[in-house]
């Protein structure tokens, strides 16, 4: 049985058949037929954002908090170009998105028509794949394939450019079941030889460490479950990248905390001193490795990743395993159990004792004193007052993001939405909107800096319109904090353009949008103010005035290895050498 319908109707039907319940978007001339179809149905909710970049970040928040692909609908030309930052962000962090863009009619493509842009050309390097649909008869099939490509293998954003005449024309609708099978079928099962090598290494290792990343989250809840089982059974300490927080619970006894440039002392020292590094779904990013030629010099390195190109990209791997994390971990557990559940007990005990010595450094300690709120204290109190809640945390990018990763504890996967790879300021607020849409009853907090937050502040309109009670927890130091910190460390304290002179009154700003604003500047008032924020049923801008010159520690200065961390009290003078100064 075939059904004839217009391209516009096909889009809505295909989204329904793919299980889509929310679309984030912004209308315009080239997508009006699709918006007309959306108007005439009730299965799919459309969230009108205030800027297309916001739509893509909101869809990212939705995707990361649910594990389902996020869907975006924007118009041609500026609608598509405004989506580029979000697409690049999603590509770097491997977030599944399906972005639909309108395009001028096929007969006008190439004529420099009004709101025409070469969308597939512009987005080719920032999508996993993209399509220009030139005939309605291919449209539904292409949409189904797009969902397949976005969600299989290493997930990522895909884009479908749909000319307006294709939306008006009619053709047969193809259901997902009848869609062509795509040849793109990445390998999910790991090579058993590599898995056996890894198990043999685990059995012998004296100083092993798990180094986990966003791949565990992307692989789905089963991967986190299997990871927890493996860690508990072997007793091997575990650290994670920024992207992987929550895969293993922060309260777990083998948890070392986050690693990397602003990672915990014990995590980085364990990475440096280990004899077996088991990388699970991370990619040896430069924020993690620091100086490459001094990176974990004495370890055998195993690397499990679904993307073959991640292996041996920057760090040479001794035991490469290409496959989906959940599939591979299941096999690792199976093989390890069948070989008698062996570990090097004596070595591990010594290793844990050494790690406990490192823990005693207490690298996150801070002293809240005086009348100014320390940002660490603000997050410490936020953690204490919200940790029992059904809680989702988003962040913007900068110092506050690192402090949030350090001071908040993540017990479950999909609870932490942050722009890792691209480092997109302005990500967190729209992302929190996407998360709240997916989890209407949950507590959604965006930990922000005032500078990042202003980059997408227009989304207050969206939050208020859809009554999304997102809490914008702004650590306001009236500075571009991370930029300022780097200028202090390597540009002779010349603070070039890193402070904001004309900040808005955030309380009045909230009120202007019809939301609630809370100002807090005294540590003594902080708990009450946070409670007031939590108790308010609606969006809140929480303007938390914090210490203006606080630096984020620990820090591995660029160009240095893991064991050369700067701790809070250390002298930062000349910490970064000439070679390190050219690195970002």
């Amino acid at each position: 049985m075939t059904r004839q319908m217009t391209g516009a109707k096909m889009v809505v039907q295909a989204l329904k058949d793919q299980g889509v319940d929310v679309v984030f978007g912004y209308p315009g001339g080239a997508v009006l037929p699709i918006y007309d179809e959306i108007f005439q149905q009730n299965d799919i909710r459309h969230v009108l954002v205030r800027h297309e970049q916001g739509a893509v970040h909101a869809a990212e928040g939705y995707a990361r908090s649910t594990g389902k692909p996020g869907v975006v609908l924007v118009t041609s030309g500026p609608g598509a170009t405004n989506a580029v930052t979000g697409l690049t962000d999603a590509l770097m962090d491997s977030i599944p998105l399906v972005v639909l863009t309108g395009q001028v009619p096929t007969f006008m493509i190439g004529t420099d028509a009004f709101q025409e842009a070469d969308t597939v050309g512009i987005t080719r390097p920032c999508t996993k794949h993209n399509w220009l649909v030139s005939d309605t008869k291919h449209l539904s099939d292409t949409i189904h394939q797009a969902f397949h490509v976005a969600t299989s293998g290493r997930p990522g954003p895909v884009l479908i450019d749909i000319p307006k005449d294709v939306q008006f024309a009619s053709a047969d609708y193809v259901t997902p079941q009848k869609a062509r099978t795509h040849h793109y079928q990445p390998q999910v099962k790991g090579d058993i030889e590599g898995i056996t090598d890894l198990v043999a290494a685990i059995e012998k290792a004296k100083r092993p460490v798990f180094y986990t990343g966003g791949g565990v989250i992307n692989s789905g809840p089963a991967a986190s479950q299997l990871l927890r089982e493996l860690v508990e059974a072997t007793g091997i300490p575990i650290t994670s990248t920024l992207m992987g927080l929550g895969a293993y619970p922060a309260s777990g006894k083998h948890w070392l905390g986050m690693l990397g440039m602003h990672g915990l002392y014990e995590a980085n020292m364990a990475m440096h001193g280990c004899d077996l590094m088991i990388n699970i779904g991370a990619r040896f990013d430069d924020r993690i490795t620091g100086r490459l030629d001094a990176f974990s010099p004495d370890s055998t390195k195993a690397h499990i990743d679904i993307d073959p190109s991640s292996i041996n990209k920057v760090i040479k791997t001794d035991i490469p395993i290409v496959g989906d994390i959940a599939h591979v971990l299941e096999d690792v557990l199976k093989v390890w159990k069948s070989r008698g559940r062996k570990v090097n007990g004596e070595g591990l005990a010594k290793w844990r004792a050494r790690i406990d010595e490192w823990r005693k450094v207490d690298c996150l300690k801070f002293k809240q004193q005086g009348k100014t709120i320390k940002p660490q204290y603000a997050l410490h109190r936020l953690e204490e007052l919200t940790k029992g809640h059904d809680r989702y945390i988003c962040t913007e990018v900068g110092q506050h993001q690192m402090w949030a990763a350090q001071y908040l504890g993540f017990e479950d996967p999909n609870r932490w939405m942050t722009s890792g790879g691209l480092g997109t300021m302005g990500y967190g607020f729209p992302a929190s909107i996407g998360v709240q849409m997916a989890h209407p009853e949950a507590l959604v907090i965006n930990v922000a800096g005032e500078a990042s937050w202003l980059m997408n502040m227009q989304e207050m309109g969206t939050a208020v319109q859809y009554r999304l009670p997102v809490k914008q927890f702004i650590l306001n130091n009236e500075r571009l904090g991370m930029v300022r910190q780097w200028q202090e460390l390597l540009h002779g304290e010349r603070y070039s353009s890193s402070w904001s002179e004309a900040l808005p009154d955030f309380v009045k700003l909230a009120e202007a949008f019809g939301a609630k604003g809370i100002l807090c500047k005294d540590p003594a008032d902080l708990d009450d103010a946070i409670m007031e924020m939590l108790d308010h049923d609606g969006p809140v801008i929480f303007d938390c005035l914090v210490e203006k010159h606080e630096n984020c520690f620990p820090m591995i200065p660029s160009g240095e290895p893991h064991n050369k961390m700067l701790l809070g009290e250390a002298s930062t003078k000349d910490a970064i050498k000439e070679g390190g100064a050219v690195l970002v």
Binding site: R124, P125, L132, E193, D197, D307, S309, N312, I319, V322
Partner: protein, 186 residues
Amino acid sequence: MSPLKIKKGSSKHSAYNLRPQFSDVQETHTLAVIVDNEPGVLARVIGLFSGRGYNIDSLTVAEVDHTGHTSRITIVTTGTPQVIEQIKAQLGRIVPVHEVHDLTVEGASVERELALLKVEGEGDKRVEALRLADIFRANAVDSTHSSFVFEITGAPEKIDAFAELMRPLGLVEMARTGVAAMSRGL
């Protein structure tokens, strides 16, 4: 390197040819990439090379299966062994790419390129050009009283050698197709 004495490298099932260290020796490899013949696929491949800073020495492309709509792209590239492995893995990530073959490591292969050379000259030079063309088995596909267009097929080195010889004899223009390559045997 490895204190645990774990066997280096991976299994025969793996695509990775792991070397003890990342070597900085530059190698030239010929890759055959089978892709869906769809709009933009060449741009994806070229964009990958430019975006990630890889070299293209030569690139040819044409549809080779008209019913299955697949094309074969032959790329000659230069890089360290680690970069070559990255190039192959990155090509494999492109959604319309079906297969990536490294003809340089997969056994013996033949490489051929076609070139057209326009040589202008009269008298002895013209006779000498014809004689050399005969030695190189190049055909004159166009001829006037003062010029030839030669067609020559062969490995890129042979074409380079022929062009060098033609230069003093009045080489004024050259067009080359780039390399097409195939593994020997089955």
